[in-house]
């Protein structure tokens, strides 16, 4: 008995499909990277905002270590303040290092800084602090991080919006590219559609052939694109972390559920979009046949 292998009813179209595969993979790469980057940046900004909120820094304009410590004791009794700590000189020096270098002479007069942890919902604390300190004869400058936090919050909104718009745009492009490619594949395969139709194949049967083909293509291309996006994102963030010391400022890449969703959802969307495009195009072509 001869070996009668079953060829697919739809012929493979290597050149056309390789090109479409590449385009879909590239678009999914961009979409997934956008998704991952938006997520990571969003996460970093959120944790940054969380850190910054409830923190203030006070600079003692004039005075030594003892002054700093007595001011700290004075302020920690104020309502709305959780704790006040005078930063030791090492911290101050490290803050100045970018400007003054690391080998500062010991007798260099440096300002003292006090780190303040505030209660949530404490209002107008900076004014109270300045009033209290000046009442006790200290001259201080208060750095209220709240303003920063508000900026971060605002940027977060813009970030989210940008990410969404980019994603929607990419999905739309994927949709039209795949629809276009399916259409041209169908035109090239009109003979097959026609023969199957006249051999008694139902519309559903013919449509499924194309849907399966393009679902598979979308899934494979989307998966590859998403995988490369993950690799790319990891390389980017890893590289940035190696280069910069203040890594807590950088977007975080953590293999959490969100990353997983981006990686799974991207190829799925590509596959479903491809399938729907195929169904619509084939349906339209079939309705022209009697």
């Amino acid at each position: 008995m001869p070996d009668l292998k079953r060829s697919p009813l739809l012929p493979r179209e290597d050149a056309r499909e390789a090109a479409l595969f590449f385009v879909v993979a590239a678009l999914c790469f961009l979409a997934a990277l956008t998704g991952l980057a938006t997520r990571a940046a969003y996460g970093a900004a959120e944790s940054w905002a969380g850190q910054v909120q409830g923190e203030m820094t006070i600079r003692l304009v004039d005075g030594g270590e003892e002054d700093a410590e007595s001011l700290a004791r004075l302020l920690s009794d104020l309502p709305g303040i959780r704790s006040v700590e005078a930063e030791d000189r090492d911290v101050t020096e490290s803050l100045l290092a970018p400007w003054l270098g690391t080998n500062l002479p010991d007798d260099l007069p440096l300002s003292w800084y006090l780190g303040v942890q505030t209660m949530p919902d404490a209002a107008n604390l900076s004014e109270t602090i300045v009033d209290t300190a000046e009442g006790a004869g200290f001259q201080v400058e208060v750095e209220d991080h709240q303003r920063w936090a508000n900026d971060v919050e605002r940027s977060l909104g813009i970030l989210r919006l940008t990410g969404m718009v980019a994603l929607i745009l990419l999905v739309t492009i994927v949709l039209s590219v795949i629809a276009f490619a399916t259409h041209s594949a169908l035109l090239a395969r009109r003979d097959v559609v026609h023969v199957l139709h006249t051999c008694g194949a139902s519309d559903r049967f013919i449509s499924r052939l194309f849907e399966h083909r393009f679902f598979g293509l979308g899934l494979r291309a989307g998966g590859l694109g998403a995988l490369f996006a993950l690799l790319g994102a990891m390389l980017l963030f890893f590289g940035a972390k190696q280069a910069g010391e203040r890594s807590w400022l950088l977007p975080q890449m953590s293999p959490d559920i969100g990353t997983f969703i981006v990686l799974v959802v991207t190829p799925l969307i590509a596959a479903i979009v491809a399938m729907i495009a195929a169904r619509i195009t084939v349906g339209r072509a079939l309705s022209e046949l009697n």
Partner: protein, 238 residues
């Protein structure tokens, strides 16, 4: 939904005052009336360009007539649903003038296509298809792709495909156009045998008058878009 009944008591084909043409030109078919009884065998002749292929396309429901009505197994093709048309197609075997084989499939796969598209399993039909390919003399070419087959071999694959699901109606458009007269007559006799054994209704378009003359079968002749009845037989018309 009530499906129309596909009746075998009805004439297999009935054509009622059909005229037809293409958007680009004049009428190809004038006022056509004809009937083909179940189990009958007839030739459709006429010079090239007389509208044979067009008429056949109306008969296997690839086109709808511009005017008039075509009934297949008692079902009017103009008003039938798509599902009904699909069911009708599964009872009709068609041999196209240009074969319409799929070049990426083997001779065996091409011949088995009408069974495959209805979801049948290969092991159910394999032996039947192989028998049929032997019958048309292609037993040793089953794995060949159409592009490696001669015109006559391709024609026989096309005939095997048209016969594979034991159709109630076989419509063949110049099925001997690409084979030598000897093979042509052999193929026609094979179809005649099928007509006698399975009572398949057969309509064969050909301009091979010599062939037609040798076989005692009714002849429908197309001339200037009108049907002439050369020899009275299993059909009637006007």
């Amino acid at each position: 939904m009530t499906e129309p009944v596909l009746s075998l008591d009805e004439p297999t084909i009935r054509v009622d005052s059909v005229n037809h043409g293409y958007v680009s030109g004049d009428h190809v078919l004038g006022d056509i009336n004809m009937e083909l009884k179940a189990g009958s065998f007839a030739f459709l002749t006429g010079p090239s360009g007389s509208g044979k292929t067009t008429l056949l396309q109306l008969l296997y429901a690839a086109q709808k007539p511009r005017n008039g009505r075509v009934f297949l197994f008692g079902v009017e093709t103009n008003t039938a649903s798509r599902q009904t048309l699909t069911r009708l197609r599964r009872r009709i075997g068609v041999v196209y003038q240009d074969f319409r084989l799929l070049n990426h499939l083997t001779a065996y796969e091409n011949a088995a296509l009408p069974l495959r598209v209805t979801g049948q399993h290969e092991r159910e039909y394999r032996d039947d298809v192989l028998d049929l390919l032997n019958w048309v003399g292609l037993g040793d070419r089953i794995q060949a792709k159409p592009t490696t087959l001669s015109g006559g071999e391709q024609q026989r694959v096309a005939i095997a495909r048209a016969l594979v699901n034991k159709p109630h109606l076989l419509i063949a458009d110049e099925p001997t156009g690409n084979v030598d007269p000897e093979m042509g007559e052999r193929l026609i006799r094979l179809i005649l045998e099928l007509n006698r054994r399975l009572s398949t209704t057969v309509l064969i378009a050909t301009h091979d008058i010599a062939l037609v003359e040798r076989l005692q079968a009714p002849i429908l002749r197309l001339e200037n878009g009108l049907l002439m009845h050369d020899r009275r037989g299993d059909f009637s018309g006007g």
